[in-house]
């Protein structure tokens, strides 16, 4: 569940053009060892224009669907990285597979919220106030620093089965065809689960909101104990594609010990 914000140019000019889009509910169940289980579901906000049902493609480990295993080193040599490429990754990448400058569509995440689907409890919500970016501040530290987030969960989080993640994002002047996110979670070198969400088409200069549901894989007590005892060994790569080409890569790591 990585989420990053980058500076947005001419945000004031685009403010008038942006209109909130529909809230699309999508379910992805792409367990590593699960059988085919594709769900698609869409709900409409009564105040917004209707949209087509969102399809969710199944993504899983390479041996499940015949996707060949790939390595980070191989992909770094490619001119373009496709969804099939990252679906073959067997472990967390050490490097980012694309630079911040490859986000040519100016996709900017402005709000993020996660909630427990069983109780509706909002677990976390964060937003980026407008006009908070100061020119030169981020480049002075590290261009990749804005693409990494860290969560410190309590052990109770591992007991949740379904978590809904609502993402609000804006896009630049170009229309976005087939916007898709593949997020892979690992504990050490073991792939826990791969999530595959499609955002679909995004209008230029628009603000969009989308909720994805994470179906967490069942974890044994031993694995949960290990994850709790070893904070930040649970990591994720979030790959974002437009027209099947990688445009963004965010990373996150997680602690479940409830402390530092």
């Amino acid at each position: 569940m990585s989420y990053s914000c980058s500076s947005r140019r001419n945000s004031r000019d685009r403010q008038a053009l942006r209109s909130p889009q529909v809230i699309i509910l999508a379910v992805a169940d792409t367990g590593v060892n699960s059988s085919n289980n594709i769900n698609s579901q869409a709900s409409l906000n009564a105040n917004q224009s209707p949209t087509a049902a969102m399809k969710v493609k199944k993504g899983c480990n390479s041996t499940g669907v015949g996707v060949p295993a790939t390595t980070e080193e191989e992909l770094l040599g490619n001119t373009a990285i496709t969804p099939e490429d990252v679906l073959g990754l067997q472990k967390i990448t050490e490097n980012y597979l694309c630079g911040p400058g490859q986000n040519v569509y100016s996709i900017d995440f402005t709000r993020f919220k996660i909630r427990d689907m069983e109780t509706g409890t909002v677990l976390f919500e964060i937003t980026k106030p407008p006009h908070t970016d100061k020119a030169g501040d981020k480049s002075a530290i590290d261009p990749n620093a804005g693409r990494f987030v860290r969560y410190q969960f309590t052990p109770a989080f591992l007991r949740l089965r379904q978590v809904g993640a609502t993402v609000e994002f804006t896009v630049g002047d170009m229309p976005i065809e087939n916007f898709r996110m593949i997020e892979r979670h690992y504990f050490r070198e073991k792939l826990l689960k791969s999530f595959d969400f499609e955002f679909g088409f995004c209008m230029p200069s628009s603000k969009n909101t989308c909720e994805h549901i994470y179906e967490f894989p069942p974890l044994s007590e031993d694995v949960m104990r290990e994850m709790i005892l070893h904070p930040y060994k649970t990591q994720s790569d979030s790959f974002y594609f437009v027209d099947n080409k990688l445009v963004m890569h965010n990373k996150a790591d997680y602690s479940y010990s409830g402390g530092p």
């Binding site: 980012y96 909002v122 937003t127 908070t132 590290d142 860290r150 005892l229 060994k233 990373k251 402390g259």
Partner: protein, 228 residues
């Protein structure tokens, strides 16, 4: 962390008070309070909002989530409290055996020592506030400086500008950020800035322009190499 109990003759405990809060206290501290919030010293009427690197945390359920931070904040803290953050705290993506104690540094940097010493003085002092400067005597009475919520000494180390406790609280630096740091620091190595002699005679404009052009081309090549 083990604590040795000590008592003096009068029965008053001399046990050093831990200034690093326990996990439960940390949870409570990180929970965004909607009620009483400390006021910052510069604007006494405005409450301090919960922000992380420009993002505003609207809600955090401490039953499930006790902390959130960004790469920027981690790097800032690492820069602030360690002369060489690459050597102190590293999260590697692959490990064979590891424990939570890996997150702790092997040696405590000096600023943390000072911070603990200073904070322990605060707790041990009897209703006295730390005064970093002398307050002039007025009418024969020495005034005390009133504490402000902006004082770093009064805040727990894991909160605000409290020091390396805050860095440790957020865990070690991830590998992807360390690699970025190394790449950035090395990108200027070819300039050999440390070897430049200050006694060199001033070069004329044409020579400087040629050198600048040469450096620009090299930096572009370095960046391209780092990207791939």
């Amino acid at each position: 962390m083990s604590v040795k109990m000590e008592m003096d003759v009068s029965g008053v405990s001399r046990t050093p008070i831990s200034v690093l809060p326990a996990a439960a206290e940390v949870k409570a501290m990180l929970k965004p309070d909607t009620g009483d919030r400390p006021r910052c010293a510069s604007t006494p009427c405005s409450p301090i909002k919960s922000t992380v690197s420009g993002f505003q945390i609207l809600h955090m359920d401490s039953n499930y989530l006790v902390g959130f931070t960004t790469g920027e904040e981690l790097l800032k803290l690492a820069h602030k409290w360690s002369p060489n953050p690459e050597k102190t705290l590293i999260t590697t993506p692959t490990t064979t055996t590891s424990t939570a104690s890996e997150a702790l540094p092997s040696s405590v940097p000096k600023p943390m020592d000072l911070g603990i010493h200073r904070a322990s003085r605060i707790y041990k002092a009897k209703n006295r506030y730390y005064q970093p400067y002398d307050i002039p005597v007025v009418n024969g009475r020495r005034r005390r400086r009133m504490p402000s919520s902006g004082d770093p000494y009064l805040r727990p180390l894991s909160q605000g500008e409290g020091g390396p406790g805050r860095a440790l609280h957020h865990g070690p630096l991830p590998l992807c950020l360390l690699k970025g740091k190394r790449a950035q620091s090395k990108s200027l190595d070819y300039l050999n800035l440390d070897k430049m002699s200050v006694k060199e005679p001033p070069a004329d404009t044409e020579v400087l322009q040629f050198q600048l052009q040469h450096l620009t081309l090299r930096s572009e090549r370095m960046f391209t190499r780092n990207k791939t």
